[in-house]
Every structure is written in structure tokens, then in C-alpha cells.
Symmetry: D4
Subunit: 249 residues, 8 copies
């Protein structure tokens, strides 16, 4: 029952103004005790809510997955600890876990057909966990992905030799730590949006990804925007929004 | 003459390998002395190069505008000083200057028809110069824009009363200084990508926009990515890429 | 017409649901073109909106003051430049300007009777502009104020000799730059809330007030909370909320 | 025996000036060896001293609790380690421990009747430990509390659907990590003081709560002041001061 | 009349407890309106108060100098602007101004005989204003000074060739910007306390003296302690305390 | 087959343009699955690729070493964990491990004769791991090295007594934590390039090497350039480039 | 044999210039392999070298202590790990270990008579390890010490009730974490140099002692200078230099 | 007269030990009053001292240039203000001024023949002042230079089309602001040392060159070391050391 339905009920005398006021407030919230699941936004955006598991107890995570399953919704958890993963495995034998990216996917429905193409380019081997989180999330949202790993700018040909394939994507996710130069170089070579993900890979004056973050924000190339350090999920989310949008709007 | 044409010429004996090598190198550079204009990238991306005028002398800016005009290309300059603007006005009487955003547009061709819709939402009156830079650039690239100014989160109804209109856009540009909370709130209310632009508006612990930048990067909402502080142009560029993309790719 | 009135109108058939929806949105916004004035919040909080003039043009400020005057509302502007003050003086001869705090007050109504007591304690002579902004704003909101200036902790007796008077207040505003130790010392001596205002007074490693801000946030004393650097207005606002609250709620 | 009594004794010849001088110094300090307990301030402020246990040994904490018990005072300890909690449990079987907030309460007296109302609003599930520390401390000080958890701004209706209840409070504690936007949004919706508590929840560029702290300090909303990162106790202290104050002063 | 005298008066019935209480509070404060002059501390420490003129108006500075003169006290002002200096010159023709260090000295009494020896060592020509402020202040406090300028560590022999003279001092003030290495090297070569003064001399990553400050705080040499950036006065103060102390205490 | 050979093949009709295009892309990349090994750069620079093992799994490291061995290339790994070292020891009994510097060298070929001279100067005992990493890498690249450890500037003679030997080198590597003054002092005493390596040695305000890094970047001495914190390898690389260069170019 | 003796030997023909040159270089260095012990500086300054054990292996520490013992010198080690302490205990049964301050003292000679007085004032119980390190080091250097712990400014009377005793000292060491206000307050109350030691005690925005460090550097009180965070030893060193100096120089 | 000559004189009885001691100290210092000119280092390093004019008065600069001229030495001044340049022009009509780089060269001797080759690559037009400072200094030191300006990585072909020419250099200076990615990309393409110069070009989160500095320090490419922000001179100095070194040493 959405806001229009409620107002119509009031107009038709089927609902008192007081009831209406209460319903408008409760419209879109499903309260799980420790966590409120946002149902309306899921419907509105076409993207199911993904569960950020860091800082939640295994019990809380299990509750949330159960709630999703009970409602017939697909569930994706990110940053799952070993301990939480063990627990989920027992409870949801059908869930698919990925160790590198620390994600879990529990499908209630058939996989949607994937559409479009996101290119995921990363600088070094150590950036793989973040890049893989981006890939798994983007695929969960229904995007095709193609990955180009270990393409850091210190060996430019590793990137340029793949550039024609990368140019086929509707959007690129560029994943890099250290000095984060990959985003600028990629954006200079393609004609589509580049979502840059700084990673905490590096040491010394990389300051846990701060250097890469600043680097990407200051990119001299056009068409770059940036998400948080190590935020593969966030990059996948906005990249999928771009990749899956159609031009009729 | 692109790389395929060159290789074909070599194959047909029309060009020596040595000539080919040289041509591949020079393929896309037009050297203006102080500045190299990137012609290939313009063709590749569909976006003409915009001139960032800060740090360039009035003479250099005039040279670049002249070059663009001579080649029949549209020119857009951002961050033009008063001094440079005065000079350009004399030389290019047809150019259109905007004082708030400090931009200049010189059309060689008819305006392209604008397509799609970008919503530009800003937090306060003082954010207007950045928001207007975004609008003028986005329109220059061929995007329709609708602006919602002074919609900061401290008076939430100023934003929520416009939310239905904002939801019609294919992408939103959220412009805010101080604590930059606007990006998170907007992204929670719409289902399209939000390009967040932190501004240097504020004082004290806003540290010239750093607070807003961090805030936007750490957004708890999905679908947000961030460009540099006060970078209205950068937001317009990637937003237009998203807005103008078609779904056939 | 508030939301309850609107819903009642719908229930009584005096208003269509569609009209209702529109009215709910527009309920509380008065749009001045460049600025939206938040009327509902004023009514809700009992505090008229104060105009932060930094970053606004003299014309915009004059427009806002005119709007307030036209509606019979009192107006208070902070951080007014010399240029804007000159302009306002011509237009509003009854307005009261204060040079040290850079504020302007334009009364449409009789002064309200002032209530309660706020003690404003500052560390040094150079903190006076911020302390005076706090005083003028707090008095504008209807609070009695008593000021204790140049009471920095390096000469503790300057503070302790006044402590009995300070203890009479319902809330204390502590204003200090440099190392900002005043807030901790005052809070250790009184039994009421201390609103700490770091100032940008200092040099070298004071980093424009950052040192004082951190100091106050890390205060070892209980009952301290902190507003932005140089934000005398903000301290006055929350201090007045506390001072003017009654205990019936 | 307070300072006035001492001076009177001197005037009446009952005490020598030398004795008086010594007594004035020792007036309010009870020295436990490793820790000095401040008795006068407790009497002065109406708030018993709370023990910050981080950085103290289990033995020291036990000593302090014993001292409180011996004097018939209530004791509240915050940030108690597992190890210290185990020790206290053996010694004080009546003490109440809370695992989430890591607090311990040892009542010597009957609970006071609670008064007023503090609303505690938090952004996400992971902010609960800080929010619960605030709740337990505020209740210890004699305030009624009502909690609204997982109300982050990315799903605004989770907050707005509760806003009428929140508005019933005399003061609001807003607890949020990441970009900390909650404080601004809440303050824009209520007419009472908002004590903002940044938390260290987040990752990457949240820098252990620095982003949330800056965000809250730069809040564009009125009526916000800020305590240290994760300082639930500090927020409870000042909020209780506000909540419990009466308007007769 | 000090605290002991007051207490004695009470004991002798010459003063009421109430009067005593008031006198204790007012004991040491002379209130100039905008500034409180601390008389007791001057007597206690043997160092007259120095006026930090930055952030004070020329009028306020003149008032303070007049007050000092009226009481027969010597006055020293630091960080005097050109404007304030011009004003003081008219009013106090006997005052001595120093342009490099931006100080003014107004003697009411004969110069005290100078004692001991402070060596002031600076790294480069640009550090001279800070070093000279230190020298003038230290001489004002009664210390002999010897200066060794332009002795930066990049040309070590400029320092080592003077080391025997420097070793004659009771305390060394080391003044350096950029990487501030001078303090460590000097402290390794002498056997007396080194007061390190970082300066804002430098550019780029010197961050206004932050690099030198950190460097000096992290000194690997023993016997170094540090004052604020550009704080020549502060160094002179503590260095004079050390230089002028006698060993009888 | 390099690019000239490919173009010649096309000219001679031995290769189609399409094949040529593909080959140009693949020219220099050997893809190991998780890692791409850059063969062309090795040939181009004369320096074999060194494996930065931090953030790679033992399996990945073993794969890379195997690949190097299979191709008859020497392998050097840095920042090898205990776990990875144990694994490599089993697989490559001929490899040489160094515990202090956490490096492993696996020679496929005879050691090259070493040339030139690099002086490695370090400030304290705790800087040894970084200094030793530099030494082992530089020797791997074919440079002679001489080490001067524990020569911090607080005891200047420890450095100056060795200065004649240090001056014999073609390039100096200066390794220091804390305030990092060593680089400036050394550079002032020698006439060759100084590559400065800040280390994370220190505590408190050394901020993990940031102080030393800033110090070295701000060096007042000529001839200093800086690599990342703790980056002994990086210093060895560029120092060897300088040391091994001949003057014929 | 010092430099004068060497030059005389040359003048008398007892030594060749070449030998002289070598001896001048080696004059003051005793090389232990991994560590160089600075003998001349000890003689020059009257302070034996203290061993900073953090970052040294137990073996290295044992070597250094043995060397000191063999030469009949007293040894003091700071920041000794549990592991190293266990080892030293076996080897040097006469050494005295202190667990709180993590120090070890090995006397070869009779204790010197202690002179003068240093007052050590600390803010809270958690600052004790740093304060105790200062005390033990200062006593090792021959200074009398008196400690005043848990005297934080939030309960000012804890400090003021001891102020007469503190004023008896020739120099004060003020130890505080969090906002570090103690240094300013103490310095305002005494007339001797205050050596301020920021500690890493605190949480959230204390940033590991940075807040206290900045606070102390920005102190509004005169006579304060600052050493590194948690550097109790460094404070003791310079304080002892001041305390033990005599005024004959 | 160097140290060996002095010692020989002593041995031959031509000089007393006392005289010798004095001479050793004064050996290499020529004191100009405000500035000490380091003569020995010039001789030792083969590089004349360059005058950093920022922070020096025109008079001081003129004095230094005169001193150089009087001694028949070439003089190079950097960061010369307009005011100082005007003054020097009058006094030294033969001096050559460069407006972009703000340098002045005064030749006393014939130009030395230039040797070797330094490639100077810069990212954008606005980096030219720094790049030109590097060029002029390097040529002053006797190096041949070739410049490649406006080769930022956003248009990679601008760089790659010149790479063969760049590879001819013995050392490369890479000059870039914003995200500073140029250094990494260049270093990946050449086999010689790359001296990276971050510039303050940029805005917002470039923080005056800090982003570029961090980026270059964290470079994923081998063979990069870094000088201070905008330090074209410093890069030229060390690059010339490398370029001019011969391999006989």
C-alpha cells in the first residue's frame, strides 16, 4: 500500500486521517530488531539490498539472510568473516562463498540474465580481493563483467594490449592501490565512465589507501569518479546502475 | 588516418615500415607550442576537450580558443579569470561568458539538440558557482539539466518536496560543502547514479572542502561516487557520459 | 496549514488526494529565488533563522533581510562584510551593526524579555569577535548573557576569581584558541553543560583552530561538547536551546 | 566542611590560619594511591563520577569500585575489558554487566526515579555499542531514554517514520559513523539540542571516525554539538545535564 | 596583600570572612577592560609579562603599554604590525623598535645587568626574524646572548667551526625551518639543554613549519625540547628561566 | 620478435595487418594467471624484475619463482613472510634467505661481477632491516656496496670519522627514521647523489615514518631525492641505475 | 687522547700527520658491531648514554649492557620488552627492573648523591608508565624527584592543593594525554621551566597523542617546551640538565 | 689550505697546534654578514652554490651576487621576486633573467661545454615554471637538456610518441601536479633514473602538491625518487650529478 493508495483510502472514507498518518510513517520499514530492512528502496531502485557484514555478529548476519530467504529475495553478503561464513554454510547449504572476496550469495530466484558489460581493471595481484568483490557484486546485480588484472601502469603494455577489449564495456571499474595512477591512464584511453576504487594495497606513505584516493580524486583525466578505499561493492553498485540503465528515460 | 589504415597501407606497399612507425607516434597530437591538443580523444569519446584556464596566461587561452575556432570546433573554457575574460571578449565577440561559474562558451557549430536529463541539486546559495559550472558544462556536452538549489539537509522538506522531479533524471549531480550530507540523503531517495561534488564552502574544520570530500566518499548510501572539490566540470563530464549513453552497446 | 489540517481536509472531501500531495510537499518552503527560507522550522523550534552572510552577495543579503522584514520577522545576520554592511545600513536605518562580531540585527518586533543565564567565558583578547558573536546571537534568541573575557588558563586566578558568578549560569559557552584548555578547566569547575567553541586564534601548530578543536573534543572533563571553529553563532544556538528549555516537557 | 565553614571557623578563632590553608587544599580529594577520587565535584554537579576503565588494571578498577561501595556511592564503569569484568563479577555479584556496551553498574542505593526523556538515534547496527553505552550511562544518571537504532540517512523513512516520537525528547543523542550525516538530518527535524557522537564505524577514508567527527562539527544544521569519537558516556553526561536541568535557575 | 596576610587579618578579626573571600579572588588581577594584566605571576616568576600583539588592535596595544608605563614596569611587545608600531612611536618616543623581529621595548627602569649566556643558532638567513625575536626577548629578560646565524647542517663546518663558542652557553636556542635537522646536530655536540624553534621557512612539503616541528620533536639527540613554530619569544622565555636560574634552590 | 620485426613482416607480406596488431599487443607480456611478468622491461632496463612478496600468497610466490627459474632468470623476492620462506626453502634448496632483510635470492646464472660502489649509511641499529634490504638488492643488481651503520647525527663523529670512505662511492643511500636528519648531513658532506630512505623507526610523532619522509623531502642540502618509507629495494634500484650507468651515452 | 693531545703530538714529532688524521676520526667511537657507543659525548655531557631498547633484539641489548658493565659504566635501558627483560635478569642478577615503566638499571658504581628537585605531575592513572619512566631516568641521572599523579585539570583542586610542593622544584615535568591541558595550567602556576610530555593516553580524536602534542606546543602559558609523545626519558634528560646545572658557568 | 696542508705545516713546525685548530674551523667559510658562503663544498662537488632568493631581501641578494662576481664565480638565483629582479638588472646588466622560471644567471666565465642529456617531461602547461627552473639550473650545471611539455597521462600518446627521444637521456626529470601519475608511467617506459618533481598545480584535494608528492613516493614503477614540491632546482641538481658523473670512479 503506497502513499497514493493511502490518500485515496482517506478520500473514500476507508481510513481515518490518524491511521493514514501512521501508515505513511511505517510504509517501507521491516524491522528485524537489530536491523531495519529497507523494502521500498529495493523496489524503487531495482537493486536488492546487499548486507555489509563487517561489524555485525554471525547471529545478526544469519537473521538477515533468513529474512531475505523467507521473503524470496536474493541475498548477497560482503566482508564476511571466516567465523560468520562457517555458520552460514551450515544454515544455507546452497549459498555460494568466495574466499578471496569474502562474499556470500544466496539465490532464492533463478539468476537473472546478465546484460551490458563492465570492464574491471586492476593494477596488481594484491588488488584482487577488491576487484573480485566488485565482480561478484556486479554480476549479482545482473551485469556482465570482464576482468583485466595486474595491469599496473609501470608496465603500460599490459594495459594497452587489452585496451580494445576494455573499450567494449559501457563502464570501467579501475582498482588500484599505491599511487593509483591506473584510473587516470585508463580514463585517458576509453570513452566511457571510469569508477575508480582506491585500495589499501601499499605501505609507508600510501597511508592505507589515502594516497590512491587523493590521486584518483585529482585525476587529470576526464570521466573519473571515485568511491571509498577498498569499496569494491560500491563501485559495482554505481557501475551496474550505469551499465543497466536504458536510454529511454 | 588511424592505426588500421596505416597497417593496411604498409601491407599494400604504400608505406614503408619506418614511415608507419613515425605516423603511429604522431597520429593524434596537434602541438600548439605551449599546449598539445588531443584530437583523437575528442573523436573517440564524443566530448570535445574543455579548457581548464586556471594557471594559463590570457595569451595561452586566446591561442587555444583560436585554434579551436580555426578547426571549427566548439570551445568551452572554465575557471577563466576576469583578466582573461576581458581579453577573450574583444577577440571573440560571439562567445558567451557566465560570471558566476566563470565559464566561456564559443560555438562554432549550431547547438546540438540536448538529450536525457541531469538533475543538479545543491545544498546552499554559496554552492551555486560550482553547480552552475556543472550545468553549463553538461549542457555544452548535450545534456538537458534541471537545477534544485539551496536544498541542504538541515531543511529536509526543501529536498523532499522536489524529489519526484529529481527522480526523473538519469543521473544526479549533488553539490555540497560543509558536511556534504546531501549526497547520502539524495542517493537514498533516488534510484540512479549520484555524482557527488564536494565544495570548498564552509569554514573552520571544513578544511577547504576536505570534510565534504571525506563525507561523500564515506557515504552510507549506495550509488554515490565522487569527484574533486569544486570540480563542477568533472561531475558534468561523467554525468553526461552516463546521461548520453545509449543501451545498445 | 499543516499536515494534520491537510489530512482532515481530505477526509472531509474538501481537498483531493492529488492536491493534498502537492501541498504536503510545498508546506514549508518560501522560495526567494537564490535562497529558500525555512518557515516551518522557525515555527517548530521557536528560533528564527539566522542568515550566515559569508559567501552571499550584498544583493542576496539585502533580499533576505527585506523578506524577513516584509513578513514581520526579526532578522540577524552574521559574518557580514564591510561592503554588505554599508549597503544594509542605507536600506535599513534601524538595523544595529556590531563591528567586532560582524553582525547585524533588524528588529521587526519588540525585544522579547530575556530569560535564564548563559555565561560566556573566553581565553584571550583575540577571541573577542567569536565570543561577541555568541553573545549577540544568544541575546537575539532571548537569553541573558554575562561575559568573562581574557580568562585563559595561563593565569588561573583570572578564571577562579569569577567562578561563583559563572556557576550561576544554566549553561556556559567557553571560547578559546591556541590549546583550548579553557573548556576542560571550566567544565571541571561548574556543574552545567559547557559548549566549547574553538577559535582560529593562534599561529604555527594551531593550524587555524584545529588544535583547539581536537583539544576540546578530547577534554578530560565531563559535560563538554563542541561546535565548529569560530562558530559563535552555533554555540549560542544550542546554548539558548538549553537555557530556554523548561522542565515541563 | 566547605570553604565558607572553614573561613567562619577561622573568624571564630576555632581554627588557625595555617590549619585553614591546609584544609582548603585537601578539601575535596580522596586519594586512593593510584587514583584520586573527586568527591566535591560529585556533590557539586549531582553526577557521581564514572570510571573510565580503559588503561587501568583490573586491580585498580576493583579498588575503585570497592571505594565507591564502601562510601555507599553508586558506581558505573565503562570500557571494561573481559578480564576486568570477570574479576569484578567475582567480587561484586550484584553488579550488572552489559556485554555490548562493555559497562558495569554497581548500585549501592535504590535506583533514583528517572526523569525527562533523551532520544538516542543511531545510524547502523554497528553503532550499537556506542549507543548502548550512552543509554546505560544516561539511565545511571537518572534520565529516561528511548532508542531508535539503524536509522541511517540512506533510508530516510526509517528516521522520518519515528520523528514524532523523537520530538518528544528534551535532547537527542545522534550516534553515527561513516559520513555522520545523521546528526545534521536529525537536527533539521527536531527543535531540541542534538549531541552528536561520531563513531569509529566505517573503513577506508573514515579514518577511525575522523570523517564523522568533522562532518558533525561542520553540520549545516543548527543545534548540534559534538563529543569525541565513540564517546557514548560523554554524550550521556551532557545530555543528562540538559535533560535533568529544571528551569527555575 | 597576599593570601597569608588575608588569612591573618581574618584570624585577628580585622577582616570578615566574606571580605576575605572577595579579596582572595581579586588578589592578582588588574582588569584593563579588554585585557586582564596578571600582576602576581610577574612577581612570582621574575619575568614581566610580554605582550603578544598579533590579533590586538593598535588602540588595545597602546592601552597596555600605557598601563605598564604607568606602573613603572618595562614593556616588551612582539609581532607588532607596521600600523601599530607607527602609533606606538608617536606615543612612546623612547621605545625601541626592531624591524626584523617586529618587536618594541619600552624601558621604565634601567636595564638590568645581563647574566649567563644563551647561544642562538639558526639554520638560514630566512630564519633571522625568529632568531632575532628570541635574542631581543632573552636580553629583555636579562640574559646575555650570542648569535650564530646561517649555520644550517648542509654545510656542517659552518656549525662545527663555531662549536667551541656555542659550548660556552648555559642553554642553546636552535632555530630552523625546512627539515629542522639543526636541533639534532647541535644537541649532539653540546652538553646543555637545546630549546628548538621550528620556523615556517620553507615551501612545498614543509607545510608552514610542520615538518620542522615534527623533526625536532622526533630528534634522535638527547636534551632537546620544542616550542611552537616561529615562537622565538617562547624559546627565549624558557631559555632565560634556565639561564638565569641559580643552583641554590 | 619486436615491433620492427613485426612491421617488416607485414611489409614483406609474411604477416597480415590483423595478426600484426595482435602481436604488437602481446609482445611483452607473459601471463602467469594471477600475475603478468614483464619480460620486455627486463631486457630494456638491464634489471631483472624483483618480486614484492607482501600481499601475495605463498603459492603465488612459489609460482613466480618457478617461472623465473624455468626461464633461467635470477629471482629476488623482498618482504617474504616466515610462512612463504619456509615453503620456498623446501622447493628451492639453493635459494639464499636473509632473515633481517626478509629477502630471498635464487640464482640461475653465475653471479655477475659487481661494479662501482654504493655507500649505505644508516642512522640506528633499528634501521638495519631496511638498510640490509637495500644492500642485498643492490648487490643482486650488480653493485658493490659498503655499509656504515649506526651513524646517526646525534653523535656526529660516528659519521664524520667514516666520511672519507663514504666519499669514494658513486652514490649514497641514506637510511634513517625518527627525524631523518642523516640525509641532509650526509648530502652536505659528499659530492654524489644521495638517495634517502625514510624508515618507520621511531614512535609517537614519527607517525610511521612520515616525519622522516617530510624531513628528507625538505632537505636543505643539495643532491637528495627520496623514496617511500622503508623502501630499501627502491633505493637500491635507482642507486644501482646511477652506479652502473656508464658515461658513454 | 683528545684532539689537543693529538695536535701536540704532531707538533712534537711524536705522531705523523697521517696517523693524526686517522686518530681524529676514531677518537670517540667504540664499535660494538651492531651498535656504536658514544664515549666522548658521555664524558662531555656528564650523562651516560641510555639504551632505547625498542627495536633491538634481546641479544643486542645484552651485548650493550655487557659492554657498559665491562667498562664500569652504569646502564639504563628503556622500553624493554618482557622477553628482553627475562634474558637480562638471568645475565645481570643485580639489575633492577621496573614493570610499569619497562626500564632496567644496572649499577656498576655506587649511586651518586641526588641533587636539586624535579616535580613530575601527571594527569591520570593511565599516564603513570610515562611518568615513571621519567622519574627513574631522572633519578638515574642524579636528580631528586617528587611525583604528583592523577592531577588532571578536570578536578583542579587535585593540582592546586599540591601547588606549593610543586613550586619547590627547579623544573617541572608535566605528563598528560587526551587534551594535554595540564602543561598550560601548571606553567601558569609555577615560575620554573615546564617540560611537557604528551602521552598516547586517550582514544578517538586524540590520535595517539597528537592532540596532546599540539596542545602543549600551542600552550598559552610561558615557560613550556615539549618532547615527543610518551617520551618520559627525553623529558627526564633535559629536565636533569636544567636541575643539575650550576650557575657558575 | 686544506686539512692535510695544515697538518703538514704543524708537523714541519710552521704552525702551532693552536693556530691549526683555529684554521681547521675556519677552513671553508666565507662570512658575508647575513649569509655564509660555502666555498669548500663548491670545490668538492663541482657544483657552484645556487642562491635560493625566496625569503631574502633584494639587498641581500645583490650582496651575494656581488660576492660571487668579485670572486669570478658564476651565479644562479632562483625564485627571484619581480622587485629583486629589477634591482639586479640595474646592477648586473649582463645577467640573464627568465620570467617564467623566475631565475637569474650571471656568468663570470665562459659557458662550460654541456655534456650528457637530461630529458625533462612535464604533465601540463601549468607545470612549465617548475620544469623551466629545472632546465635552466641543469644547463647552468653543464647538462644538455631536452624538454617534453604537456605530456600528461590523460592523453598517453602525447607521451608515447616521444618516448624514443626520451629514452636517449641518461636521466629523466618528470614534473607533474594533480595526481602526479606521470612519474610512474615514464619510469615504466625508460631504463634510466627518473627524478620526480611534484608541483603545486591543481586545486581542491591536491592540497598544494601533497597528492602528487605522495603519488610519486608511492610509485609502483622502479627507478623513481622524489624531491620537494615545485623544487625544479633540486631535481636539476641531482639529475646533473647523475648525468655528469663518469664511470671511472
Amino acid at each position: 500500500m503506497d502513499i497514493d493508495a493511502i490518500l485515496n483510502s482517506v478520500a473514500q472514507g476507508l481510513m481515518s486521517p490518524k491511521e493514514a498518518r501512521k501508515l505513511i510513517g511505517e510504509l517501507s520499514i521491516a524491522d528485524l530488531g537489530h536491523t531495519k530492512i529497507d523494502l521500498e528502496r529495493g523496489a524503487r531502485t531495482g537493486f536488492a539490498e546487499v548486507v555489509f557484514c563487517q561489524g555485525k555478529t554471525p547471529q545478526q548476519i544469519e537473521d538477515i539472510f533468513s529474512e531475505f530467504q523467507a521473503r524470496g529475495l536474493d541475498a548477497l553478503g560482503t566482508r564476511i568473516s571466516e567465523e560468520a561464513a562457517s555458520r552460514l554454510r551450515l544454515r544455507f547449504p546452497n549459498a555460494v562463498f568466495d574466499k578471496i572476496s569474502r562474499t556470500a550469495v544466496l539465490r532464492s530466484k533463478q539468476n537473472k540474465e546478465k546484460r551490458g558489460l563492465i570492464a574491471i581493471v586492476s593494477a596488481g595481484t594484491s588488488d584482487m580481493p577488491v576487484a573480485e568483490e566488485a565482480r561478484i557484486c556486479a554480476e549479482f546485480f545482473g551485469s556482465n563483467c570482464q576482468c583485466f588484472y595486474d595491469c599496473g601502469v609501470a608496465g603500460l603494455h599490459r594495459l594497452t594490449s587489452n585496451i580494445d577489449k576494455i573499450r567494449k564495456a559501457r563502464v570501467v571499474i579501475a582498482v588500484a592501490g599505491m599511487e593509483g595512477a591506473l584510473a587516470s591512464v585508463v580514463a585517458g584511453l576509453v570513452g566511457v565512465p571510469v569508477i575508480a576504487v582506491p585500495t589499501s594495497v601499499g605501505y609507508g606513505a600510501s597511508f592505507g589507501g589515502l594516497c590512491a584516493l587523493l590521486s584518483m580524486v585529482n585525476s587529470c583525466a576526464n570521466g573519473v569518479s571515485v568511491v571509498n578505499i577498498d569499496n569494491g561493492f560500491g563501485a559495482a553498485y554505481i557501475a551496474s546502475m550505469i551499465n543497466l540503465s536504458d536510454s529511454k528515460k
